[in-house]
Symmetry: C2
Subunit: 199 residues, 2 copies
DNA sequence: GTCTATACGGTGATAGAC
DNA sequence: GTCTATCACCGTATAGAC
């Protein structure tokens, strides 16, 4: 339906995750998308800020949904996170170590530049944190302790993604995955997953 | 001595940590530095790439040195890291949540753009990791286990810095500091610091 | 060493024709 | 809806005078 609009958003996502906000030009986006150049300001009267904001939210929603799906495959949050991060490590390798969404880089760049984009990034981070927190609660943690663990997990994840990108290895992500198995020992449930080997 | 050269490097550091690599212009740097504009390509014939690379290495060396100093104040690596991160949290607040060096943002941006800058970032990260690893070894960890823990700590630190910047709170950093006290229980030494209250 | 001038290409954004 | 033309400004980098 909204092929042109969505095409532009998707192209923006692809370019942003590699180059970031200021380095990605509008002409580059329309060229990458294959969409008609004249439609840019018709669909996005807010200009570059609007396109980037929407791209962050769009990619963020997909990420959050995928995360929730993956984490729901295992009852135990530790096992679930382990599997999720290992899958992410594989994806990052396939993509030549450019992480699978424009969130991190745009968030850092826009923090002092665009309030609108920065707000979009905050929203996505809050959603991710909520997904993690919900999963931690199942673990038997209190609400506040779960929030704490969610923040820590998110920080470790973001940092590992950065290190993987810089070093061009998925090792930091895999190290994190292995470590999580041991470092959330507050878990009151067993390590037995809901479905361990049928996936 | 090298007042002009150093002035440009320092100005580059200040601007890079707020805006990043592509968003920071050469004219902006010379203006910020107050240095003569005509000297830019005299001191830095390699252009923008050279300036940014040197800025990253310069700020990185200071960071590594400061880190080594702070960590050496306490024998126990956990206590040392706790104090270091808490101090960092205070600094980040003072600086309006723009972290104290251009490393993170430039590393992420330059990963797919400039090999030279990317290499400089890798070097600094490797140095930081080495400092952490050395400190972990004192903890009684094996060499490989110390390397693992250093990677994890660095990732958590980077991620917390990003979250602090995005949310404009030092909470993620403080949460990390508190957590570290409990999550490196492999420590074989006591928690008693070398000098706890005389600083 | 430092200056000015300039080359050359890019940027985001707008106006008006179709 | 899409195009082209155009705006004013920006970027990096170089050349040559002083």
């Amino acid at each position: 339906m909204t092929t042109v609009r969505e095409g532009i958003i998707l192209a923006a996502c692809r370019l942003l995750e590699k180059q970031g906000y200021p380095a990605t030009g509008l002409s580059e986006i329309v060229k990458e998308s294959g969409s008609p150049k004249g439609s840019l300001y018709y669909y996005f009267p807010g200009g570059k800020e609007q396109i980037v904001s929407e791209a962050v939210l769009f990619a963020g929603n997909i990420l959050v949904e995928r995360m929730r799906d993956e984490l729901s495959k295992y009852d135990n949050p530790i096992q679930a996170l382990y599997e999720y991060i290992m899958k992410l490590a594989g994806k990052v390798e396939e993509k030549n170590f450019f992480a699978s969404n424009p969130l991190t880089i745009v968030a850092v760049e826009a923090a002092g530049t665009s309030e609108r984009i920065s707000q979009a990034c905050q929203d996505v981070y809050a959603q991710i944190q909520e997904v993690l927190q919900e999963k931690m609660v199942c673990c038997g943690l209190s609400e506040t302790e779960a929030a704490r663990q969610a923040t820590l997990t998110l920080a470790s994840l973001e940092g590992s993604i950065i290190l993987s990108r810089v070093y061009r290895t998925s090792d930091p992500l895999r190290t994190l995955a292995e470590h999580l198995k041991d470092s959330l020992p507050q878990s009151k449930t067993s390590l037995t997953p809901q479905a361990e080997d049928d996936r």
